[in-house]
């Protein structure tokens, strides 16, 4: 396996002037390192204000890192206030809450983006046609983007990210603002992209999406990377508790057994006392639990930063 995207010690500090006088530093991202391997779906997870978008903006050369390096397929992306445009050729990018030129139609937008990549005319037209079909906008292609719904904008955003047939697709919150069906469609699309041999890196705070499709995840909280790895390795295999639901004279009751308790003995006792066993569910750590654990840990330790980050957001 080879790294498609390699990030080392990436950091970004914003300088804010409070009331124009007091200089305040905000460490939005602090020494984040990870690498994304070829042909995997990599989830970049964190609560609001964690630094996901800031990190992705650095990956895209929109903002310059305060420190650290970014390599894309072995090419150094950012030099001193310069961005390697060859490295950008292999990337497709969907910004967070994408906005596009609302005076263009979907087709015009894709054509414009295709020309930026220097894709020759007939090839461009073919790809535009295929992509509009792929994202389900075949009939909306000639409609002005002004008239698109949020879900349609998200899809045309994905289409424009794919026009150059990128090896690495970077999506910032691709499922945000979509209904459950829309989210499923995007998830299916991401899986489809991986099946085509592409590598997908996406950020989200919707955990179920991560659970369903990601090969590996990175958890970022308060600008710091908490964990990277396959989801099942990050989740503690430890049993949290066992939920037993019993029925007595038509009335159901739930019992929570701590991991130390002998479940078999509990069930035998219950049966002998005339209860009916409805269900027995061992509860292990879910991604939500992991997430909460990480956030709580950071709140007690380096939590100030995270809280500050949350305040700064509406």
């Amino acid at each position: 396996m080879s790294a498609v995207l390699k990030v080392e010690d990436l950091a970004k500090t914003f300088i804010l002037w409070e009331k124009g006088l007091v200089r305040k530093k905000i460490r939005a991202v602090e020494s984040v390192s990870f690498s994304v391997e070829k042909n995997e779906i990599f989830g970049f997870v964190g609560p609001n204000g964690a630094g996901k978008t800031t990190t992705i903006k650095m990956l895209m050369g929109l903002i310059f890192p305060s420190a650290g390096t970014i390599e894309i397929l072995g090419r150094r992306l950012i030099g001193h206030k310069t961005v390697d445009i060859e490295a950008k050729r292999v990337i497709g990018f969907l910004p967070e809450n994408p906005y596009f030129y609302d005076y263009l139609t979907g087709r015009e937008l894709l054509d414009f983006v295709g020309r930026l990549f220097g894709i020759p005319g007939p090839e461009r037209q073919r790809r535009i046609h295929d992509l509009l079909d792929l994202v389900g906008l075949g009939r909306a292609g000639n409609l002005a983007l002004r008239k698109y719904s949020k879900g349609m904008l998200q899809r045309i955003g994905i289409a424009q990210a794919l026009i150059n047939n990128p090896e690495l697709v970077i999506l910032d919150e691709p499922m945000s603002g979509l209904d459950p069906i829309g989210r499923k469609e995007i998830r299916d699309l991401i899986v489809q992209l991986r099946d085509q041999g592409k590598t997908v890196f996406f950020s989200t705070h919707i955990l179920s999406d991560v659970e369903l499709i990601c090969n590996r995840v990175a958890i970022v909280v308060g600008g710091k990377l908490r964990d990277v790895g396959p989801l099942d390795k990050l989740l503690s295999p430890r049993l949290l508790h066992t939920e037993v639901v019993l029925e007595t004279a038509g009335e159901r009751r739930e019992h929570r057994l701590p991991p130390t308790e002998d479940v078999d003995a509990f069930l035998l006792r219950a049966l002998s006392e005339g209860h009916k066993v409805i269900s027995v569910t061992p509860r292990r750590e879910s991604i939500e639990d992991l997430f909460v654990r990480e956030v709580e840990q950071s709140d007690t330790g380096m939590g100030a930063q995270h809280k500050l980050g949350r305040e700064a957001r509406p």
């Binding site: 903006k57 903002i63 310059f64 950008k88 906005y99 020309r115 930026l116």
Partner: protein, 262 residues
């Protein structure tokens, strides 16, 4: 080069789909048509007044359009975050500035052409002779607008839309009154004279392009006091304008290449 062209074309498309642009254009044409009844006052002066009012109208609304679209089209990309999708493309940031500039200049070319044709039509209706001097005056006007656009883009590369527009307009006013300012500076104490004179030299001398209204008759147009404008003067003024615009654009590119898009 293709990328620059794509951006220029997209900018042009955005501009011509903008309603404010048409409002300004309609006002500009209104001013030119205003010369029609005005000219009726004295028959002999008719053509001269039409030319004066017409050129002044083209200049005023040309400047307003340059400032409006120069500031607006750069800022909108940042405000509306459309630049978030653009910068990640294999594109140098300076190409963005060049493309924007060329697109805006193409729009101005169209606007000035429309207003000029209106002016020619009015002159034609008045049966006034149509002289090549008018072409010279319009050429210089257009170069002036190219400088103003570059200045508008320069301010937009680091400042807010309101301030960018304000600064650009202030610079236009200063640039159009360089000769009165020079007289003012002469009255300053010696030390200040040097500094103020130097500062004035850094600002665009838009009077270079300003065809003095009263001196504009059919055969000659003049600039400043009694210097007639021939094609060699037009070439000189154009070279100055292009040089100035280039330097200002290079500065904008430098600033733009270093900034964060947050």
């Amino acid at each position: 080069m293709n990328r620059v062209f794509a951006i220029a074309q997209n900018t042009f498309r955005e501009a011509v789909r903008n309603k404010v642009l048409y409002a300004l254009l309609v006002f500009g044409i209104g001013v030119i048509l205003f010369a029609l009844p005005l000219g009726q006052m004295s028959l002999s002066e008719q053509a001269r007044v039409t030319r004066d009012v017409g050129l002044a109208g083209i200049e005023l609304f040309g400047i307003l359009i340059s400032v409006f679209i120069g500031v607006n089209l750069v800022h909108k990309e940042i405000d509306r975050k459309t630049i978030y999708a653009l910068v990640p493309k294999p594109l140098h940031r300076y190409e963005f500035i060049i493309g924007k500039y060329l697109g805006i200049v193409a729009t101005l070319l169209l606007m000035v052409a429309i207003m000029s044709i209106m002016l020619l039509a009015v002159l034609f209706a008045q049966e006034a002779p149509i002289e090549s001097t008018l072409i010279r005056a319009i050429t210089m006007l257009f170069v002036e607008l190219m400088v103003v656009t570059a200045v508008a883009i320069f301010f937009s590369s680091f400042s807010t839309p309101f301030l960018s527009g304000l600064f650009t307009l202030v610079l236009c006013v200063i640039g159009l009154s360089t000769d009165s300012l020079r007289i003012l500076i002469k009255k300053l104490p010696a030390a200040l004279q040097f500094v103020a004179g130097f500062a004035l030299r850094l600002l665009p001398d838009l009077r270079m392009f300003y065809v003095s209204g009263t001196m504009l008759d059919g055969r000659w147009i003049s600039i400043h006091q009694g210097n007639y404008v021939d094609w060699s003067y037009v070439a000189l003024a154009t070279a100055y304008g292009m040089g100035y615009a280039t330097v200002i654009l290079l500065l904008s590119m430098w600033i733009f290449s270093r900034r964060d898009f947050i």
